[in-house]
Symmetry: D2
């Protein structure tokens, strides 16, 4: 169960009472507000607040270009232009605040994105719940044999059973001892700030995370990517759905120029030019290493 009854009651109350505002409103985003979308076995993301919309991006860009804009470009065209030319500041004019519940090892990756505001549940101050991420069978992946930082096929049979048993039993035992250690029934009780260190990294934490749209898209490009760890990618994917309804033009441009695009080196561009002239370019005469060439073939769907 990803949301407590108290939290659900609070969410229902907030969703029931619309108020008047003069600010920019994104109708697509209003539908998502406060709703907790489940991620993994106990996690969720939910939008707590937002600022701006597609029009706000254009409004900020037009401050910069002023009366000098000869042709009145439409909003979508302008947004595509900004995205294509890496004019990032207008995208910084939108902001989103999310409430996220996530395992600690995912939180540790996530926090490396520094340009954001965070308020995390304090395990110095409060007691963590007995909630741990246990992978679904299809997510119980083997170590990749070709990539140190990747996954292979899902484990099966006895090996899968043993892994799940270890993860579950160790989590439960560690949590039992956590509870025992902090208990003040008949004993002093260990300080919470110490007891928490007995909990494994699949324990769930939660935080408020606030970020501007430019930095959010950078986060999504890295974390919704196929090479990201599955357990953070599912959060990024869920956020993508919300952003697509919040700022539809910006998100579409992001999909075209960032998610679906690729950065090619001078050497790679030169190879394409040679190929377009009919030359047979191979790794050997490409000027690229084997690894680069493989990635290059992947981008062009050749091989």
């Amino acid at each position: 169960m990803s949301v407590t009854p108290e939290q659900q009651a609070e969410i229902d109350a907030e969703r029931a009472t619309p108020r008047q505002t003069l600010r920019a409103v994104s109708p697509g985003m209003e539908d998502h507000l406060y709703t907790a979308y489940p991620v993994l076995d106990h996690g969720f993301i939910r939008v707590v607040d937002y600022m701006g919309d597609d029009a706000a991006i254009c409004q900020a860009a037009r401050v910069s270009y002023g009366k000098g804009t000869k042709s009145v470009q439409n909003d979508e065209g302008l947004i595509r232009y900004l995205m294509r030319h890496w004019h990032s500041t207008p995208f910084e004019m939108c902001e989103i605040k999310l409430h996220v519940k996530l395992p600690v090892f995912v939180a540790r990756q996530w926090i490396r994105h520094r340009t954001a505001n965070v308020n995390e549940y304090s395990a110095r101050y409060s007691i963590l719940d007995r909630e741990f991420y246990i992978p679904a069978p299809e997510a119980l992946a083997a170590q990749s044999v070709i990539n140190n930082q990747g996954r292979g096929e899902a484990l099966t049979g006895e090996e899968a059973d043993r892994v799940l048993r270890y993860l579950r039993d160790d989590a439960m035992r560690c949590y039992d001892h956590y509870e025992e250690m902090i208990s003040q029934d008949g004993q002093a009780g260990l300080a919470r700030e110490l007891a928490r260190m007995n909990l494994p990294a699949n324990v769930y934490t939660q935080w408020y995370w606030k970020v501007d749209l430019h930095n959010l898209l950078h986060f999504l490009r890295l974390r919704a990517d196929a090479h990201a760890q599955y357990e953070i990618r599912v959060y990024a994917d869920e956020i993508c759905k919300v952003v697509a309804d919040w700022v539809p033009f910006a998100f579409k441009a992001f999909e075209d120029y960032r998610m679906g695009g690729a950065t090619l080196s001078a050497t790679a561009l030169d190879c394409i030019r040679r190929m377009l002239k009919g030359e047979a370019v191979t790794q050997e005469n490409s000027g690229m290493s084997k690894g680069e060439w493989q990635e290059f073939e992947g981008v062009l769907n050749i091989s």
Copy 2:
């Protein structure tokens, strides 16, 4: 005239059409939205958007403290506690977006606050207006004779007249030449990105500036301070009025703990302890330099 008729029409349209939202709404702030408050002779500040309110600060803080909060503190008490103990992250959960028109030399000071998002009017792309800051007579201050970085009394008589004449004439002549240089009537016309360099630093520019409440309060502490240059302080003062209505508890705590407070060194605290015990502490036996002692006397209103 600080707002163009076009801008005023846009402001009026936006103020006329309230919309429904499920987000946190600050009634005090809604009243300010879009209204341009004049600053200096041609400048203004106006709030374009905001996120959060006093309750949002508390909501974020309570995510951190979780169920561990024994006593349900009221919002004002909690906000004072956070401010007093420099718990800054909950204040980062509020955000404001301002449209500001300001002289370039003020903009150069302002931009040094790096943790903010900015879209400035581009003089590479567009043509600047013929608007220059000319100080009012009472703001036409002499160089301080005791402080290299400060002002003395207002200039008077012939000296004041000459200064005003120089400022006005030089601005007008530079702008005349700016216009002539970029003109494409009968000539190629100098590139705007070059021509702009003929304009003095009292020319007005404008930007969208977006910042979180924590960083805004830091800006206000430094720029609404008596030692700040008058021309930026008047902007900070005007922003203070808006913030006071947006997050009244946070602003009151800010006034008490930051604007009206003072940081005392270990040496200064020791002097106070000695004075409270009845000892006659003077600069000579204080352990402070003359400069420090003067500042210390200023804080305590003794001397």
Copy 3:
């Protein structure tokens, strides 16, 4: 053993071969370079590189003040002036790079200081060592009975024994299972990026952490403070020793104005003024809450 033999050999080699440079050199810091100072049971800090010294702070400040500086202030006086008036940019002109080995729950607090550069050991990519923080008996503190976020006395007797047994046994069992899960002997082997989630938060990680002096001092003010959690404070204390030798004037000013100083509210300053005039000020007539008054008494050493 906090440093591996390989690391020690590398350190010894680096310490043995001084090179020539034209850059600013801090003799006090050169003595610390590369030496790993033990912290907790398996952790350490060691300085890998640094930029600047006390003179570099002054050099940057003098760029700002230029020829306008009437009196040629000595370096120590200038640094005290900068620290007292929160002129932080000259302190940003010094930089330090540390190699730190620390438990994950300490790393999670540490990383919240966002204005720094970090390269952490990747447990997606590599295998973590069997090293866990187990508190020394005197650090095995009870939960504070007056402060949700604090510690009381050390646990004793049977309770202390049980806590230590739990921490040790759970860490060892979790690590045994971690090893078994990733083993590729006779099985596929769980992906490292998944297996790591079975490890409790007292497991050690390590990183390179690079930060400028201004942000380092901010970190030290919060983390070398008596209210910081003991397990991060010992790291901050060890860093303080190094900084004291690197930039002795800056560190001394930091101790006087930051570590030993206090920020007083407008209300508190008013109380001091009243007390100095002989008035009997109590919590009731102070205008402060009970909590604030207690803190105020603590600062003045009265009560």
Copy 4:
């Protein structure tokens, strides 16, 4: 004359006295230290300090990958891999401190790169010199007729003469009046913080600017680009030369993957795939706008 005799004497003294250090030393960079390289008519850049080298980038990367690195990659290969996959944190482990003298309108563009440390000459505190940027004849460009934010050919004849006369005369007159206004001979003297506003944006300022290598390369990608304004590009070009000697592997990878590379959208990649299969792709059937298609043709050198 870009460096004062006093500054040159200081530079000579610093260059004359090498010291011993245990830190990483970049021989290529030591040769550049303190030397002021002229830029524009009165500006310069000079390296004041640096931290790290190519090996330091690899050292930080290897902390992350730890013992998991199967093949001991050579430094150049590792650096190319990091650059290609946007692993930016190891590049953040190098730092550079520059002293730059530059016109105010260039400084205003430069400062928009927020992730850096800056100490600028204070015109509130000190008096600015009589030094203004006057373009060389070949840099006196006309406004572009196709791009609002660009330049065309150089102005010639009478138009060029008039522009140069305006720029020179206005600068001199404004400076004359600046001097007169602040003079305290027989008058109070206007405060410096006010008088400076009479100076046009081609007046020179100077600052210390400190930045990490990752953010420096981002700056160089944008500012050494053909679309950057000439007056900032010449600074970026000069910095490129220094960086090429400081971290040769990183700079070479930067040239290949960033400066010489290009980011292509999903649509553009699809067009390339179709073209490689022999399809005749035109703007009309490309799915791109005219502007995008032109840029695409430019990248591929077709048209």
